[in-house]
Symmetry: C2
Subunit: 117 residues, 2 copies
């Protein structure tokens, strides 16, 4: 099957620590390592009174998050091309935020658009 | 309907200028303005021999892209919460890259997870 990359839409539900920039940044770094990816750039932003947004640019695409700590919800994306293994990020995120539930949708980006090499 | 934000998965097909960091950054800024969003942080990375990744952190969530200029393909995401109007980004991106086709999938992030206030 030919596509450009695997994009996981990850809903972290009933999580803790979702207002903690350092915890989120560490979770991103752990995802990168566990999935076999390469980190190029990372940035997080803390909102007032609560909520964090974060992005990590990878050699293989990106990870992002937006959190609603007041309801224990985090909207994560893990998008990776090539030999990296994005599905391994799911357990990393579940553990990092002690999530009660994690829901994952897989999108194959460029599916049907990317020609055979 | 209660959800955290609208996340558009946008496949730009048969586009030009997808190896041009400045063009991509300008397109992001134009999306932010047109959609009524607020830019907090922007970063792009040029790959060798080709390809650009870019992320923009917004007060309303994020925009991202990964491009494969050699086949005219760009994998864009436009994720916005609140009063911003993410669907307005589609025509901005179509014009910015003179796209032959643009395919859009809408995800309602947090749908069914976010309680009534």
């Amino acid at each position: 099957k030919v596509f450009a990359g695997t994009h996981l839409i990850i809903e972290v539900v009933d999580g803790i620590g979702l207002d903690d920039q350092a915890r989120i940044e560490q979770a991103f770094r752990d995802c990168v390592d566990t999935c076999g990816a390469t980190l190029l750039h990372i940035h997080t932003h803390k909102f007032s009174p609560q909520g964090v947004s974060g992005v990590a640019v990878l050699a293989e695409s990106h990870i992002s998050v937006h959190t609603w700590p007041e309801i224990g919800y985090g909207a994560f994306d893990v998008f990776m091309c090539g030999d990296a293994q994005p599905w391994k990020a799911v357990d990393v995120l579940r553990a990092a935020f002690n999530a009660g539930d994690v829901r994952v949708k897989e999108l194959l980006r460029g599916d049907g658009l990317v020609p055979h090499g």
